[in-house]
């Protein structure tokens, strides 16, 4: 019988377990936060929360201002359960593509009346810049270490 390295076996087993969790999450996770792919479906279900305080977090990717306030698309995340909501806004502007939007409010007449809307203090372009800078620094420091070790193995202790 061939001998296997237990570390490799453990590594492959870990990856397989993660794959099982990912597949399982497709069915299990939506039960916990309410996965509503169709925007109309979400709008219908908003009535179920009539008079209740809810908390929604997500990304505003499609903002349309109406008399009622802003209508924007939200990823179905956090304690809220919707992919699209009508939110009454007073004095808070949410820009299209704005990431990091948190709305807390009460559902009245099928509309989420926001008591508190918070927008992330980091603008999206700065976030993108920080992410790119992060990739650059990671590659710089990692490749530097790898190159020195490969070319000058005797210097490994000094790195």
């Amino acid at each position: 019988m061939a001998k296997y390295d237990w570390r490799r076996v453990l590594g492959v087993f870990s990856l397989a377990l993660l794959a099982v969790l990912i597949v399982q999450s497709y069915y299990v996770v939506p039960q916990h936060w309410g996965n509503m792919p169709a925007t109309e479906y979400a709008a219908d279900h908003l009535q179920e929360f009539e008079g209740k305080e809810i908390d929604v977090d997500g990304t505003a990717t499609d903002v349309i201002y109406s008399e009622k306030g802003a209508i924007f698309y939200l990823n179905p995340v956090a304690k809220g359960l919707f992919s699209r909501l009508e939110v009454k806004t007073e004095g808070t502007s949410i820009k299209e593509g704005q990431s990091g939007v948190n709305v807390q409010g009460t559902v009245r007449n099928g509309i989420l009346e926001a008591d508190n809307i918070r927008v992330s203090p980091i603008p999206w372009y700065m976030e993108s810049f920080f992410n790119l800078a992060g990739i650059f620094f990671f590659l710089f420091f990692s490749l530097k270490e790898w190159r020195i070790k490969k070319r000058f193995p005797y210097l490994e202790e000094a790195v």
């Binding site: 390295d5 570390r7 490799r8 453990l10 590594g11 492959v12 870990s14 990856l15 377990l17 993660l18 969790l21 990912i22 399982q24 999450s25 497709y26 996770v29 939506p30 916990h32 936060w33 996965n35 509503m36 792919p37 908390d55 977090d57 997500g58 990823n75 179905p76 995340v77 956090a78 304690k79 992919s83 990431s99 990091g100 939007v101 948190n102 918070r118 992330s120 203090p121 980091i122 700065m126 976030e127 920080f130 992410n131 800078a133 992060g134 990739i135 620094f137 990671f138 710089f140 420091f141 990692s142 270490e145 790898w146 490994e156 202790e157 790195v159």
Partner: protein, 161 residues
């Protein structure tokens, strides 16, 4: 999520604090949970946005990241398996410490710290600190690169003299 820059900065700070020689392993651990982006990009066109949001939860969880760390430690050099695994786990821990400090923004997967054992949310409202932290990271890491270049130039000058 806090930017990758903030994660790399925290990883670098830990590397200096614990005098880690293999900084690249620790830095890799610090951004390991964000592998979720690849799952997200793959799942969104195939299964839709809502399903993609569900699929990234196991990858971006401490337990899922531990499984990933076990896998990556197994493909790194065998002689330092324990050390590599520890550095990866340290990086992952730093990642989630930073992620938990941005509550309630950027999605629930950042706060499900006990998934798949519990659906409780844990987070601290420290969003106001993340922006200055990122700027500080930018200055610190740029300073590291510049100081490294300066040292190299000085060494070259010594050789010329």
């Amino acid at each position: 999520m806090p930017s990758l820059l903030a994660h790399i900065f925290l990883g670098m700070l830990l590397a200096y604090l614990f005098r880690v020689k293999r900084k690249s392993v620790l830095l890799f651990g610090a951004i390991l949970p964000d592998i979720k982006i690849f799952v997200y990009l793959l799942a969104t066109p195939l299964l839709g946005l809502s399903a993609a949001n569900a699929l990234i939860v196991p990858v971006h969880s401490p337990f899922g990241s531990l499984l990933l760390a076990l896998f990556f430690a197994s493909i790194l050099p065998k002689d330092e398996y324990g050390k590599n695994l520890f550095l990866l786990c340290l990086g992952v821990g730093a990642h989630f410490a930073l992620d938990a400090s941005i509550y309630p923004f950027y999605g629930i997967e950042h706060y499900l710290l006990l998934y798949p054992f519990s659906w409780s949310i844990y987070g601290i409202d420290g969003m106001a600190c993340i922006y200055p932290f990122s700027i500080l990271g930018l200055l610190f890491l740029s300073g590291l690169i510049l100081s490294g270049k300066k040292q190299r130039i000085l060494k070259q000058d010594d050789r010329i003299v």
